[in-house]
Amino acid sequence: MSGIATAGAADVARPGIVGARVQRREDPRLLTGRGTYVDDRKVDGAVHIAFCRSDRAHARIGRIDAAGARQAPGVLGVFTAGDIDAVARPIRATSNMPDYRATELEPLARGKVRYVGEPVVAVVAENRYLAEDAAGLVSVDYDPLPEVTDPEAALEDRALLHESAGTNVIAAREFARGDVDGAMAGAAIVVEDRFRIRRKTPSAIENRSCLAEFEAGRQALTLHASTQVPGLLRDALAEIFDLPGRRLRVVAPDVGGGFGAKASLYPEEVVVCALAMRLGRPVKWTSDRMEDLTATSQAFDEIVRARLALEPDGRFVALDADVIGDVGAYSIYPWTASLEPVQVVSFLPGPYRLQNYRGRVRAVATSKAPMGPYRGVGRPISTFVMERLVDMAAKKLAMDPAELRARNLVRDDEFPYKSGSGIVWDRSGFQDCLRSALDRFGYAQRRTEQAAARNEGRLVGIGIASYAELTGIGSRISAAPGMPINTGTERATIEIDSTGGVTAAFGIASHGQGLETTLAQIVAEELGVRVEDVEIIHGDSAAVAHSTGTYASRSTVLAGGAATLSARALRKQAIEAASYLLEAAEADIEMRGGVISVAGTDSSITLRELARAFYTEMRRIPKEARESLELSASATYDPFFGTTTGATHVAEVEVDPQTFGVTVRNYVVAEDCGRIVNPMIVDGQVHGGVAQGIGAALYEEVVHDESGQILTGSFVDYVVPSAAEIPDMAVIHLETESPSTLGGYRGMGEGGTIGAPAAIANAVADALSGLDARVNELPITPDRLFRLIRDAEQRKGESRYEA
């Protein structure tokens, strides 16, 4: 365990609760089927929406015939763009980034449709069966418009998706540092390729769902939504409907996974709210899987041309990249279409020493579902590209790929290190991660075994990927470029009630991460109570004055920081109040396990007794003290810049030359997530992240045909890996406490997905190294692998296959 904390001794909480494998308090309700996800909420009088969605990629909307639907049993109404526009402003994701063009998103399409799956008509009926029956009776005429589906063709602007933007390139940016052209020209070795990662969709197992209830008496609207960002939705909807925030509440109850898919505002959420107000009935919409696979935000769709130049000794000297991001039909709120592709160029230089860098990015609108955040955002792609280049260079230099990384990773004495794109890495264990991962993997031994397997003709490969990311980002850096929303602070309010119960309210929204448990651990430790005494409120816009939610690996760092600050403030006040009861000086009083005692004596009171004295037994604490003290405290934490999280993944795969399937045999992750709150939960986050990364590497792909029709509308066609495809894995934690965050925490929820695609791609390339196969496109499906091998064999003139 390395680790320096710039925080003083007093900032480092007493060991015990933080760092322990505390069992999750979420589990009993979720294991017994007593959780409450949005669709589990059954309210009297609720009606259901079925959407008629566009079956054209790009077309002008003609006549809409809804006469039959209006007459169908149980139907309350059929609604189109005009009905919603009348009460709601369109959704507009703005940014002050130069070369960004905002696109307007109408909750129901008006004038034209821009992707297959775009909602056009909303049919409301007494239940979901009847709503879907009636939706089937609606007919919409479309006049086809020219296709805008291929991102490279769309760059030429021959047909425009958004006429008002004047171009399909809705965001562009360039990073440049040093003299790339000079360094490239003088370099001993240059490796380059055109890389592509195909479109993914986050596929949380719970589909999106929302339920709007309007209380006519209070003129107040409550939206229950399967979302990661209730606070962000509350603020956006307040503006869209011009309602004061105090009469608009957004609640995310139990949420069945998000991974970024539930971190944006969706048209359906606006429509349920508009129609609940109009109809005076609770209005629900629960997505089916086909809607989810077509109309939930998608991700990771980029083409990257990149070259890396090296000295003969392996030192990296220059990196040059051009990125085209296929961002789909609209700029998603609030992140904008620039989020994903700009991150690719921001993070491309990786955790390496590299001073000459140029990264250019264009975000191109096409007729596909909007691109949004998905676990890793941009970094799975940047890591795939950079790590492939590193392995290609190692091969060219005839150097071990582990050695080439060791020579270039930023060393411990070089932090803080400003990367080629301007990101500053704070002190973290880049080299340690590489070493630990290789050790645990048994690298040298496995290379020997690999050689033996190869001699038997088996295609076994080993792949390494190292990366770094920014997590726990504070107010100084926008979570998305130029976005006018504060995602950099978190506030916590902790209260001791009149029974001695402790309630801590946060703006984050846990949806699988176990934050009810980890935040309770932090509060309990800092306050001096038992974990089970602390109730955590989250996922409710009414619980806090301002909030956004949980995304961008921020919640442990930001909410943990706010929990620490407010718990300390509350502890101080509780001890002061107790000093009157214990008749002792505050400095002599300690609070532990919910008991407040005078050090070195047996004089003590429980939190419950303190609360009773403070709130009801009015003679025990002087009036002045009761008025100046509060048994509650609020605090806001802003990490300002945020911190660094780094890791190395090592994978071993075997390629089956008959089926062209890839089996992942061994997987090791060494990651530095700073101080750990709960190791069990950290392991779980890494496992889940890696599984999604393996999906991105080998299985998952949203496929459109040339006309923009989606071919992967079910879980039969969009392949999410099962237990049979995901291997056991070893996870090593380095715990270099972050020097930049309160408590030394680093964010780690996304990392698994960042490293895995690159590690798997390198392992497959290594398995095929005898063939010089160009592994430059993900996912490596059996079909792609077959072509890759056939093409490589044909180049070598030894093909087993017909040309």
């Binding site: 089927g33 996800y37 589990d40 197992i205 719970e206 139990d254 069945g256 392991d683």
Partner: protein, 160 residues
Amino acid sequence: MERIDISLSVNGTTYERSVEPRRLLSDFLRDDLRLTGTHVGCEHGVCGACTVLLDGDSVRSCLTFAVQCDGASIRTVEGLGEIGALDPLQESFRKHHALQCGFCTPGMLMTAVDLLAKYPLSTDDEIREGLSGNLCRCTGYVNIVSAVREAAAARGNDKA
């Protein structure tokens, strides 16, 4: 639409209801009986979130009509342990952190109940194969496999 009278037992309680022939068992359980522990993730038979036991065999309640269950005995996640009194499989899931968002969990549990009743589950490969009809997007399966492995071993001890 015409309705058909059915009578079935769910977790030991007998219910008599009149349902449309097209009503899915998943909707019947969730909406008519308000047993919302059974989840739906795809409604086309792939994700396994909706798995329940029908006369002792695991089935996808999204691919089963309620009318097909006339006279049958159904077991759902609500029929396992309770808060404060989890059953050993649920305890094992908790101990091994085999759930995160919990949405796949009822289906995983019911599938595991079926596997534990019928198969030796003596290797991880066998456990993984058995669970391969249930998708989990959160856990990467590692801890689910551990939880089922431990439950399988404990089952052996009980028998011995």
